[in-house]
Symmetry: C2
Subunit: 277 residues, 2 copies
Amino acid sequence: MLYIIGLGLGDEKDITLRGLEAVKKSQKVYMEAYTSLLSFGLSADGLSNLEKFYGKPIILADREMVEEKAGDMIDEAIDNDVAFLVVGDPFGATTHSDLVVRAKTLGVKVEVVHNASVMNAVGICGLQLYHYGETVSIPFFTETWRPDSFYEKIKKNRSLGLHTLCLLDIRVKEPTFESLCRGGKKQYEPPRYMSVNTAIEQLLEVEQKHGDSVYGEDTQCVGFARLGSEDQTIVAGTMKQLESVDFGAPLHCLVIVGETHPVEEEMLEFYKYKSGN
Amino acid sequence: MLYIIGLGLGDEKDITLRGLEAVKKSQKVYMEAYTSLLSFGLSADGLSNLEKFYGKPIILADREMVEEKAGDMIDEAIDNDVAFLVVGDPFGATTHSDLVVRAKTLGVKVEVVHNASVMNAVGICGLQLYHYGETVSIPFFTETWRPDSFYEKIKKNRSLGLHTLCLLDIRVKEPTFESLCRGGKKQYEPPRYMSVNTAIEQLLEVEQKHGDSVYGEDTQCVGFARLGSEDQTIVAGTMKQLESVDFGAPLHCLVIVGETHPVEEEMLEFYKYKSGN
C-alpha cells in the first residue's frame, strides 16, 4: 500500500490522526522536499523534529528523486506499507497525479489522506472559495525570460468578477547555470521564494506592457505569508499598499480581489492595510 | 478563545492533531449539525462516538442555532476556550465568516484550524484544482421554483475551458410548509441530499430550456459520493452514463469536465465508467 499523506500547512501538528496512523504502520516513510523543509522550519531540524515525532526515520525525496526514482518507492509499496508525505494536500497546488498513475498502473494500492492546502486555506481571508476563477502561477522573471500568460487568465477572471489566486514561484534545488554547462556533479542555486512584493512588481510591469487595464496600483488584493502557520500574516490593501509591506519569511501567495459581497468585505476589514504594516 | 476547527471529510480520525488539542483544552465544544451528523454516521451515534473519542460532551448546533444563538457561544469564548467543530474546512463550501466577524467585533480571539474540504479534495480525481472556474450550487427544483443561475456560470467556465465543481443541495431541518402556515411548534421535513443523478437530470432540463449547447448528454463529468471517506465512490463518464450510476449514500457532488491535459486524462482513466457501475 502506498499512502500519500497531506501534512497540512503549518507544522507537525497539522497531520490528521488518520495520516499519523498510516505513518506509524508504514515500513518506510518518504517526504517530499520540494516545499516541505520550508514549512517545517526552513532547516533540516524540521525534518528531525518530524522524525522524533513519528519515532522513525524519514527519507527526504527531493524533486529529482520524486520524478526519477518514484519507481523504487512504488516497488517497495507492492509488499510493504510505504508513506509519502507532502505539504498541504496531495492534490493541492502541487499535484502528485504522476505518482498515483504509475503506482496504480503497477497494481499498487494507493490511499490518499487529505488535508488543508493553500487552495482552500486562502478562504480564511473571507473571500468565498466559490468566487475564484482559474488559479495562476507567477514565475520569477529573468533578464531574458518574462513569461506573462497569467495576464490573460487574470483578465478573464476579472471580466467575470471572480477572485484570482496567484501562486508565487519557488526555486529549490535549481542547478546552477555553470554546473549545467560544465557537466559532472550538479551544483545548486540557493533556494528562492517569491515575495508578495516581487509578485506585485511583476504584475504591474506586465500591466504596463499590455495596457488593457486589467488591474492597476489601486486594485484590491490580499497578501498572505505562511498561511496556516501560527505566525501567518494576512494583509488586504491595494497593490500599491501591499508592494511595500514586509510580509516576512516565505511562503507567500497573493489574491487579486474580484467583485465582493458585503460579508466578504466585512471579513477583509479585519485584515486591512494600516500604514506601518 | 474561539477555536473554529475543521474536521475534514471522513470520520473522527480526520481531525488534525492541532484540532484535537484545541478540543481537549476547550471548556465547551459545539458542533455544526448542518452536514455533520451525516458525515459522522447519519445518526446521533456518530456524535456520541465523537464524544467518546474526545472524552467530553458536544453541544449540537443546528443551523438555526448557529445563526440565532451564535452570540451565546461568542460570549462564552470571552473568558473560556470554546471549540466550534465544522465538517470539512471552516472556510470551505460552507463559510463561517459571519461567526468570525461577530466574534472579532466583540474582541474575541479566533483561531482557525484548517482541514480538507470538498473544495480541494475533489483534486483526487486528477483534474487540476488550478483549472476550475467558479463553483456552482444546484438547488432542488420544486414544482414552482426552478432557479437556474448556475447555467450562465457553467457557460462561462466552459467557454474558458475550465472545470466546474457543482455542489449539490442539502435540505436539513427544513420546516414543513404546514407547520410554517400553522405557526406554533415547527415541524421538520426529513433531510434530503441531492444525488448525482438528480443533479444531472436537472442540468439537462435546464440545457434543454436554454438551448445554448453549454453541455449535453455526452459531456464528460465526474461524480463523487462520500468524498474523503473510506468508502468514497468516484466515477468518470458522460452525463448520460452517470445519470444511471448508483452512487449510494450521500453526500454527492459533481464536476463538469472542461478541457483536459494528458496527465488529467490518465488519472480519469482509473475512474472511468464501466457498464454495471
